[in-house]
């Protein structure tokens, strides 16, 4: 008997290169992330930049780890959507629906339109128009929530409306993502109708179900030690994500549904346990998106991405202005809401990523350049919102 047989077999050729490459990439991301945080910025744009530098046509080329990074990116996408679904409860969603539906409609109309027009002008395709509409429409929940809390604005009058916009956009993703997935894969009107109605039904069922049975289900799933809870929740999520992929919807939608279905204590524990895993694989996801783009294709799209960023910065400010106004905020509060919401980040990349993977490669570079601009510009501008709003503040009436 060869005792070392198992070990020797495990050391498949190339495993050393894989470990070296993945390890080096993750370590570099850790350094970059710390750098970004020091300046109060989101690490997402730096992850994208790292991917651009490391990818095809970039400064260094990764070969051994391509397969792993592709799988890792898919898991990252799933975990991003799962933790998003865990973020809020059916109660929070219904309270937002009661107050802020008009804000959500204004948000969609003002911000998806410029993207759709740009997509159609740049790529002459309806599918690309739909993808770009999503890229410019959805704010980055991650960046916005963090900036609001970092700047100490949680108590502010405008904050509930800002968070309401995020919730509405996130829920809308459950309809929008399958729509994109089906269309990009070349599906016709019938497939789109089936895909979208199936996912709307699923979301409604899950929201209703989690209200009535969620506690019991959540209890069953998470009545164990940390290790088992982690394995159960992660395992179920992958299974559901796999099923939705089989049904030609995006894996992201399935993961999001699992997140919505878990409530209360179970959601809280899953969030806690899965966050570190999410952080690792989400970073891999952002790098992979950068990897899929040849840096040589960026300079030509910089101008159009810049114009699009400028236009949709203004439309998001108007959205925030409107939403915060509904909650009775004054000029400065409305400007703060608008500027903080202007950040686009993980969702723009998720949408662009789904499109690129499904063969719509041309939207990749514009999306990357667009996210790089707004993920950095918005948090910086949000910090100086009060100064920016000053010219618009009505002069105090002096007695």
């Amino acid at each position: 008997m060869n005792v070392n047989g198992g070990l020797a077999a495990a050391a498949t050729p190339g495993i050393a290169d894989l470990l070296l490459e993945v390890g080096a990439v993750l370590f570099i991301l850790g350094i970059l992330g710390g750098f970004a945080r020091r300046f109060g910025l989101s690490p997402v744009p730096l992850y994208l930049l790292a991917g651009l530098v490391l990818g095809e046509g970039g400064a260094v080329s990764l070969d051994a780890s391509t397969g792993f990074l592709a799988v890792g990116a898919e898991i990252g996408l799933i975990l991003l959507l799962l933790t998003l679904g865990l973020e809020f409860s059916a109660d929070e969603f219904s309270s937002v629906l009661r107050r802020h539906v008009p804000s959500g409609v204004v948000d969609l109309l003002l911000n998806a339109t410029p993207g759709a027009v740009a997509g159609w002008l740049l790529f002459d395709s309806w599918t690309a128009a739909l993808v770009m509409a999503g890229v410019t429409w959805v704010s980055s929940s991650g960046i916005v929530a963090r900036v609001v809390s970092d700047l100490g604005r949680l108590a502010n009058r405008e904050t509930p409306s800002v968070l309401a916009i995020l919730v509405l956009e996130d829920i809308a993703m459950a309809v929008y993502l399958p729509l994109v997935a089906v269309l990009v894969a070349g599906g016709g009107a019938v497939e789109v109708l089936i895909g979208v109605s199936a996912s709307v039904t699923a979301v409604l069922l899950v929201l209703l179900g989690s209200r009535h049975f969620g506690d019991r289900l959540s209890h069953r799933l998470t009545d164990a030690e940390d290790e088992q809870v982690l394995l159960r929740v992660f395992g179920i999520t992958l299974v559901v994500a796999g099923l939705t992929t089989l049904l030609d919807a995006s894996a992201a939608v399935g993961a999001f549904l699992v997140g919505l279905a878990l409530t209360g204590q179970a959601a809280e524990r899953s969030r806690e346990l899965l966050s570190p895993l999410r952080d690792i694989f989400a970073a891999v996801f952002f790098v992979s998106f950068g990897l899929s783009i040849d840096p040589g294709t960026l300079p030509p799209v910089l101008v159009s991405a810049g114009i699009l960023a400028a236009i949709t910065l203004v439309t998001k400010v108007l959205t925030g202005w409107y939403a915060a106004g509904r909650d009775g905020a004054g000029t400065r509060g409305r400007m703060r809401a608008g500027l903080v919401l202007a950040a686009r980040g993980e969702f723009a990349v998720v949408i662009g990523g789904i499109a690129v993977v499904s063969g719509l490669e041309e939207v990749g570079p514009v999306t990357a350049a667009y996210v790089l601009i707004l993920a950095v510009a918005s948090p910086v501008l949000a910090r100086f919102a009060d100064e920016i709003a000053r010219p618009f503040v009505p002069k105090p009436v002096t007695a």
Partner: protein, 160 residues
């Protein structure tokens, strides 16, 4: 007093209320059980200025300081409203048979029909003490019941 409560999806809850002097206060409770108390500038009435943050334990202490005496006062009010119901304070004197024993040992509820709803020790107030709560000389019990029942509890605790 009106407290305006708003859900902050993904963050926690926000409570806002106006004080008698016209200042507005806002408490944000986050999901990790931290509390931020803010006030609003007259310059920009929408921008909260953080006064202080409380961790979980600090918030509990704060609530005890502010809340428990209020509970006792409220109970006194309640006893005024319900005819025949009284609320009184009974001290555990040194030499009491229950000095050093637990509240459950007194069997106060079974023997007298009165309930011990709070325990005051030095400047600390323990609301709804459990049967396992230990008693010490100097403790003051807030008791609620009929005046007859309260008299019985007084005798029970005093008897050497």
């Amino acid at each position: 007093m009106d407290v305006e409560e708003t859900l902050l999806p993904g963050v926690g809850r926000r409570y806002e209320f106006t004080l008698q002097d016209g200042h507005r206060l806002c408490v944000v409770s986050t999901r990790d059980d931290h509390y931020t108390v803010s006030s609003f500038d007259s310059d920009d009435p929408d921008a909260g200025r953080t006064l202080f943050r409380l961790g979980e334990e600090e918030a509990v202490t704060m609530a005890e300081i502010l809340g428990a005496p209020r509970i006792a006062v409220k109970l006194a009010d309640l006893s005024r409203e319900v005819p025949g119901l009284a609320s009184e304070q009974v001290e555990i004197v040194s030499g009491s048979p229950y000095d050093g024993r637990s509240l459950g040992d007194t069997q106060a509820r079974t023997r007298t029909g009165s309930s011990v709803v709070a325990l005051v020790r030095d400047d600390q107030v323990i609301a709804s003490p459990l049967p396992s709560q230990d008693l010490m000389a100097g403790d003051v019990l807030v008791v609620i019941g009929t005046s007859d029942g309260i008299a019985k509890i007084r005798t029970l605790l005093e008897a050497p």
